[in-house]
């Protein structure tokens, strides 16, 4: 594991993501009032049913809607009990950066945006937009890549490790939301 930008050249400047530890993440999750999970189009994510399932479980336990990049919406539309929105990510980010945006439920903007599964360089830039122009939001990268433009990001890790960590986190989140 290391916390250098996954893509070597993706060094944006002095401000880089705080490292998010999988074991701490569930605690942080509990503090989020209006989270929103954003799932990008990376095929590994949508095509691996385990991963997709885990994301959905996490969304449910956090009571968060899921915005899903259009190309993978089909893999997510079947899930029930969770709001899944099909929306281009750039379009979404353009909405998110407006503090006064009403959200998908007309209850106002979200307070924390959790990204997963995006094409690395594309997601990095979306995080950059929010870093600069959405001071009202916290951003998290839950991918297996260190994303310097997020406010909090996991370190780089192998896919195997990441799937494992993810499961662990979900267990913790579920148990704590039960308790």
């Amino acid at each position: 594991m290391s916390a250098t930008p996954w893509q070597i050249g993706d060094v944006p400047g002095p401000k880089q993501a705080h490292i998010l530890r999988p074991e701490v993440f569930p605690k942080i999750v509990k503090t989020l009032k209006r989270p929103l999970i954003v799932v990008g189009s990376r095929k590994e994510v949508s095509e691996d049913k385990d991963i997709a399932n885990n994301i959905v479980i996490m969304a449910k336990s956090m009571n968060s809607p899921l915005v899903v990049s259009p190309s993978i919406f089909k893999s997510f539309m079947k899930f029930k009990d969770v709001k899944v929105v099909c929306m281009g990510i750039e379009d979404l980010v353009n909405h998110l950066k407006e503090k006064e945006w009403k959200g998908f439920d007309d209850k106002g903007n979200y307070d924390s945006i959790l990204f997963v599964g995006g094409v690395y360089y594309f997601q990095s830039q979306m995080l950059s937009t929010l870093k600069h122009f959405a001071p009202h939001l916290k951003t998290f990268s839950m991918d297996r890549f260190y994303h310097p433009n997020a406010e909090f990001s996991f370190e780089n890790m192998s896919e195997v490790r990441w799937v494992q960590e993810f499961k662990g986190m979900i267990e913790m989140i579920k148990s704590s939301s039960v308790s």
Binding site: I8, P14, P70, F73, M77, C86, E90, S128, T129
Partner: protein
């Protein structure tokens, strides 16, 4: 710029000037009787009001690529989260500045290219050589007429247009210096101006070369020519032209023809020069787009490489030297530190090149360079060819050094799992490498990072050798402009919306997943009888795939500008004709005046012409400037995911009703017309999103119900097919029930009802108050 003097003034001063040498600008016969519009040769601010109108609806959206500014010696200034630099600038304006710089680099490329080619042709054919694009093209220069307000009749007329362009670029560039423009909106207005002059430069370059060289003149049946790494006959001497300026390449062909040996020497090209070589002569061959440079040069097949300008890998000379290929550079833009032999006798240049005492030289004279290239190729080919040894074994040995450290992947611009692929070849499994070949940009950055110095790109080449050998495709050579007759035919159905849209595939080869997705997109739209056009690298990459029948899309679809076509306009500068086609529709079909009448035409296109460009692999600054110019004219552009690194999009907000009003020309009333088109510049993450977005962005306020119905039926169908559902925003695009596709009407009405849909007016739309004919 030139001074205007009446004949009277001239006569009276004639006595005075007798006996003196005169410097005369130009003499233009004033026989174009179209009334001059409000903005001939617009200054930086003449169209600012239009820009601000556009930018109010399509707000600039920034994704900073860097949080710092390093442009002056106060820096680096950290501009994160609202901090300002020492000059007072914030990140938003600084990003606007960076975007403007990119657009200016792009526009400067085209302006310079245009100047070079015009100078070359004037020298060859004379300043009075007529601009002539063929019988069915009277509207020869829609963009020049529109922007400059002149009607160019001779090559010489293009010079004042270039003067204007160079002035605008210089003035715009000055605004990027520290302590100049401060507002991001005005940086964007300036970027739009840069884009506009860029587009004019494209037109200057291409109409000059079409007129004065023997290019197809808007020919729908332009010949099919060979494309692919497998089409080069390696038994012959091979000359490879790389770049964008056809002058030296065409001189090679001239020399070969004159010497009667054309056919015994292969003349091939990479990038736009390749397009233009095949427009000049169907005997020339296209290796492929920029992404083929490194791998093809490493193959050692070329005996001589001629470089002109733009999109040339900066390490190509080094790579050429390694395989014994000789190099000639020909244009100021790329001097490459080489000895300038322009004035040396031909025989001595040949001697230096052949002997290898100077394996690369600079020759600033296309004809001379052409002759030298041929003679050198002929001389060295036999012996050199014998010497090239396969690097196969070397590569096979090298990959064994791979430690699976993963650094190569982390330096890959598109995050390919190249590490796994290389490591897999330890076990003699080259399948993964061969698979990567299809997605890879062949840019070599992985190689540069590898601590084991494994020549990864060469490994890919070896692994994919069989594929490469079989890369034999057909592309229709660049036809150039759209004919007036074609415009007349499709003008109405396009404006009414009955042809669902014009989709242009443009730009570079920086794809996220290889060229196949591009082919799929083009096929999808052609099949649905959109008008599909292509240019530049995209036009090549569309050809780099065959269907089950062994056909490329160019063989499968017709080349005329009509529903269900796939048409290659040509090199990057031919993008002028794609944009120009929209302008031509406004003029030829709708009879709108062009001359110095930019705003009205842009307003027309934005509200009425369902044209959208997809720059799936946009990489270069030129792509940024071309796209931005199209945007100023109201043509939306969709980028692939790498396009996010341009740092700026122009995004509409469909949920803000107040942003989508237009004036009804016939009543003066401001009416809601729906978010059509929703964005001007939008970055998509996937092919699916690009397709569906294009189907949405072709909608226009002016669509008739029949037209909207057709557009909607494709939109809904594609949305269902690719996303799995009926569009959530459907209600925004249905004005009346008549807009609804008949077969789904009931189903859709139910959906609409649930969403609280209400019918709305179909205005005769405009954003310009002055276009209102009557106020009620």
């Amino acid at each position: 710029m030139t001074t205007k003097l009446s004949i009277k003034e001239l006569e009276s001063s004639f006595a005075k000037i007798k006996g003196l040498e005169l410097l005369i600008g130009k003499i233009v016969e004033e026989e174009w009787d179209e009334i001059v519009g409000p903005t001939p040769y617009p200054s930086i601010t003449d169209l600012r009001a239009w820009d601000h109108r556009l930018l109010q609806r399509y707000e600039p959206f920034y994704s900073p690529f860097c949080d710092m500014c390093c442009l002056c010696t106060f820096g680096k200034c950290d501009l994160t989260k609202g901090k300002k630099g020492s000059c007072g600038i914030d990140i938003r304006s600084q990003q606007g500045k960076i975007v403007l710089i990119a657009c200016l680099m792009g526009a400067a490329c085209h302006a310079t290219h245009a100047r070079h080619i015009v100078n070359y042709l004037i020298e060859k054919k004379g300043r009075d050589y007529p601009i002539h694009l063929g019988e069915e093209i009277e509207l020869e220069a829609p963009l020049i007429r529109l922007v400059a307000g002149i009607k160019p009749k001779k090559l010489g007329d293009l010079e004042e247009v270039l003067d204007y362009i160079e002035r605008q670029i210089t003035h715009l560039l000055s605004a990027t210096a520290t302590g100049q423009e401060e507002s991001y909106i005005d940086f964007e207005s300036k970027a739009l101006h840069a884009g506009m002059v860029d587009n004019v430069a494209l037109e200057v370059a291409d109409i000059a070369q079409i007129s004065a060289l023997r290019f197809p003149k808007g020919d729908p049946d332009a010949p099919l020519v060979d494309l692919g790494m497998g089409v080069i006959d390696k038994t012959k001497p091979v000359i490879l032209c790389v770049g964008h300026n056809v002058a030296p390449g065409s001189e090679i062909i001239n020399y070969l023809e004159q010497s009667g040996i054309y056919g015994s020497v292969e003349v091939a090209g990479i990038c736009c020069t390749a397009h233009d070589l095949t427009r000049y002569s169907t005997g020339a061959k296209i290796v492929g787009p920029l992404s083929r440079q490194l791998i093809f040069v490493r193959s050692g097949v070329a005996d001589v490489i001629i470089l002109d300008q733009e999109c040339i890998r900066t390490d190509i000379i080094d790579e050429a030297k390694k395989v014994g290929t000789r190099v000639i550079t020909t244009i100021d833009q790329v001097c490459a530190g080489l000895p300038d032999m322009t004035k040396s006798p031909i025989e001595s240049i040949i001697k230096e090149l052949v002997s290898g005492s100077f394996p690369a030289v600079l020759i600033h004279d296309p004809a001379k360079a052409g002759e030298v290239a041929v003679k050198v190729a002929l001389e060295i080919a036999p012996s050199r060819r014998a010497k090239i040894i396969s690097d196969e074994q070397e590569v096979l040995d090298a990959v064994l050094r791979c430690k699976d450290c993963g650094r190569c992947r982390r330096n890959c611009p598109i995050d390919l799992s190249i590490d796994e692929a290389v490591y897999a070849s330890h076990e003699k499994n080259f399948g993964l490498l061969a698979q990567i070949y299809d997605q890879c940009l062949l840019c070599g950055r992985c190689e540069s990072e590898c601590p084991e110095h494994i020549p990864i790109v060469s490994a890919i080449r070896v692994a994919a050798m069989e594929k490469i050998r079989n890369e034999k495709y057909k592309v229709r050579s660049g036809r150039g402009p759209i004919k007036d007759t074609e415009i007349r035919k499709v003008g109405r159905p396009i404006v009414m919306g009955e042809i669902p849209g014009v989709i242009a595939f443009v730009g570079c080869a920086n794809y996220p997943n290889g060229n196949k997705e591009l082919v799929e997109m083009a096929d999808e739209f052609a099949k649905r009888r959109y008008i599909v056009v292509a240019s530049g690298c995209a036009a090549m990459d569309i050809a780099r795939y065959k269907d089950e029948d062994g056909q490329t899309l160019y063989e499968k679809y017709a080349g005329d500008f009509d529903a269900g076509c796939i048409l290659n306009t040509g090199s990057c500068v031919s993008n002028a004709h794609i944009i120009g086609a929209a302008v031509k529709i406004a003029n030829i079909f709708a009879k709108r005046r062009l001359r110095g009448n930019f705003e009205e035409i842009a307003d027309y296109i934005l509200n009425r012409i369902g044209a959208v460009a997809i720059a799936w692999g946009a990489q270069h600054q030129k792509a940024a400037s071309i796209a931005t110019g199209a945007n100023r004219l109201g043509i939306p552009v969709i980028l692939g995911p790498q396009g996010v690194k341009y740092r700026r999009a122009y995004l509409g907000r469909a949920d803000k009703k107040e942003n989508w009003t237009v004036y009804n020309v016939r009543t003066g009333k401001e009416v809601y017309a729906g978010p059509a088109p929703e964005h001007l510049l939008y970055v998509t993450e996937s092919k699916e999103e690009a397709i569906v977005t294009a189907a949405r962005l072709v909608m226009r306020p002016n669509d008739t119900s029949k037209g909207r119905m057709i557009k909607l039926s494709h939109y809904i169908d594609l949305h269902q097919k690719l996303y799995g559902i009926i569009p959530e925003d459907l209600h925004l695009f249905v004005r009346t029930e008549a807009d609804l596709p008949l077969t789904m009407k009931d189903q859709l009405l139910k959906v609409l009802k649930k969403r609280g849909w209400e019918p709305m007016e179909l205005p005769d739309p405009t954003l310009l108050e002055r276009q209102i004919i009557r106020r009620e």
